[in-house]
């Protein structure tokens, strides 16, 4: 069955796409996540589920049901709560290191364009999502140039856009890249992405730009670079809905490679 085109994959300047994009970037606060993990007793991974359910129940709703617990249960879960709290504090620093949205998008994404043939660093393929800040997005090591796609002519950023950067201009470049990919023109797409990175290095569409770059790399046949960039994106944004898109792209790319 053919998948229908998603709203975010259509015209990015459309109001509907804007609205959908705003929700895709929506996410809970790390503090809320820590609180819930602590309430469930899985902050440190030591409590038993039956116990955690009751303990968490009392936390949620100190509003509703705490009074129904017997004194002995209260004493028991208080002790357990203190124990888990201490351990949660112990891991708190690790949890706080969950990266923000910008890390991959701002890790010089244009690097994948200027040196298209790359191999993933060992760190990029390691499943260590809590420490991704220390991982390079794509390793600087390169494969033989003969195996890489032809170089791309990079357009200079337009002066007016550089002087007055705006979301509309950034969206226009993302749209241009998307349209080019739909026409299987990965060179134009890559050039548009390069321009976006140059003009809006900290723009709000960094994550989308990275995902489109993965698609461009897949289209160009540079699966090593696509995988390296895609893996680092997934490691940096494990909860993002865009990860599913990246995995699908890499999966499709693998299939394409096998067919070839």
């Amino acid at each position: 069955m053919n998948e229908p085109l998603r709203i975010v994959d259509e015209d990015a300047s459309d109001l509907g796409a804007e609205l959908v994009r705003s929700a895709i970037q929506d996410r809970p606060s790390p503090a809320a996540r820590r609180r819930t993990a602590a309430a469930l007793g899985i902050g440190a991974g030591i409590l038993l589920p039956a116990a955690t359910a009751k303990a968490a129940g009392t936390l949620i709703g100190a509003k509703t049901s705490a009074a129904t617990l017997s004194l002995s249960l209260v004493a028991k879960w208080t002790a357990v709560g203190i124990a888990s709290g201490v351990l949660v504090l112990g891991v708190g620093k690790v949890v706080q290191s969950i990266p923000g949205e910008a890390s991959v998008a701002q890790q010089s994404p244009s690097a994948a364009v200027t040196t298209p043939a790359r191999s993933p660093s060992p760190a990029a393929s390691m499943p260590a999502p809590l420490q991704v800040e220390s991982q390079p997005a794509v390793s600087a090591s390169s494969q033989p140039l003969a195996a890489s796609p032809p170089p791309i002519a990079m357009p200079a950023p337009s002066q007016s856009a550089a002087q007055a950067p705006s979301l509309a201009a950034e969206i226009a470049l993302i749209d241009e890249a998307r349209r080019a990919l739909r026409a299987h023109d990965w060179r134009t797409a890559t050039a548009a992405l390069y321009q976006r990175d140059k003009e809006f290095p900290r723009g709000p569409l960094g994550m989308e730009g990275t995902v489109i770059r993965v698609e461009a790399l897949v289209q160009s046949g540079n699966m090593a670079a696509a995988k390296a960039l895609g893996d680092s994106f997934v490691a940096a944004h494990p909860g993002s809905p865009l990860c599913r898109r990246v995995r699908a792209l890499l999966g499709a790319g693998d299939g394409q490679t096998r067919r070839e």
């Binding site: 069955m1 998948e3 229908p4 998603r6 709203i7 975010v8 459309d14 109001l15 509907g16 804007e18 609205l19 959908v20 994009r21 705003s22 929700a23 895709i24 970037q25 929506d26 996410r27 809970p28 606060s29 809320a32 996540r33 609180r35 819930t36 993990a37 309430a39 469930l40 007793g41 899985i42 991974g45 030591i46 409590l47 038993l48 589920p49 039956a50 955690t52 359910a53 968490a56 129940g57 936390l59 949620i60 705006s166 979301l167 509309a168 709000p204 909860g239 993002s240 809905p241 865009l242 990860c243 599913r244 898109r245 699908a248």
Partner: protein, 193 residues
């Protein structure tokens, strides 16, 4: 003596089982926390309550973890999230007045589009549109358009035949597009006056 040994063995087996369940709960949490949070939010749980509602979903999962079949963890959590959201909405008797005026009030024609469409405003506008959608279409829309699942994954998560899921995705999209067109028409009219 024999009884004591049996009791100890049973206790150890029980602890091992509980340890496995705790580990599974942790995996479910790590893999799905953000998804559950966003589903609750987009299914209409107010921002102020969504953290508590997320916690409730995982408390339910922690109590039922032994009953959840392997591979169906995400579907269980999704369906729990949808039920929790519907209950929250019913409890709160949230206003369903999501007419054009409410939506248009979020759009100020005197502002430039870039300023107008800041994230908070866009999310509020999206939530208004979603509030106008029937819940079955809304859930399909959230999974497909916002969470990026494929049609077959949407069908699996919702426990639906694939054709039904595809139909809901299509109808949800038509509904969404129609609402966006109406807002744009109203905005154009507002800007002209």
């Amino acid at each position: 003596m024999e009884d004591a040994a049996l009791t100890m063995t049973a206790s150890m087996a029980s602890s091992a089982g509980e340890g496995a369940e705790a580990s599974r709960l942790r995996e479910m949490f790590d893999a799905n926390y953000e998804l559950v949070w966003r589903v609750l939010r987009r299914m209409g749980v107010p921002e102020a309550d969504v953290d508590d509602a997320t916690q409730k979903c995982f408390v339910v999962a922690s109590r039922r973890v032994a009953d959840i079949r392997p591979g169906e963890e995400r579907g269980f959590l999704f369906q729990t999230a949808v039920r929790t959201a519907l209950t929250e909405r019913r409890t709160r008797r949230r206003s369903r007045e999501t007419g054009d005026e409410a939506m248009v009030s979020l759009l100020d024609p005197s502002m430039a589009p870039d300023e107008q469409l800041d994230h908070a405003r866009k999310r509020a506008l999206l939530d208004h549109i979603l509030d106008t959608m029937p819940d079955d279409l809304r859930a399909a829309f959230v999974l497909f358009e916002l969470e990026g699942f494929t049609t077959s994954e949407v069908a699996s998560l919702q426990g639906l035949p694939q054709g039904t899921a595809a139909s809901r995705i299509r109808r949800a999209r038509e509904h969404f597009d129609a609402q966006v067109r109406r807002i744009q028409a109203r905005r154009g009219k507002g800007a002209a006056t």
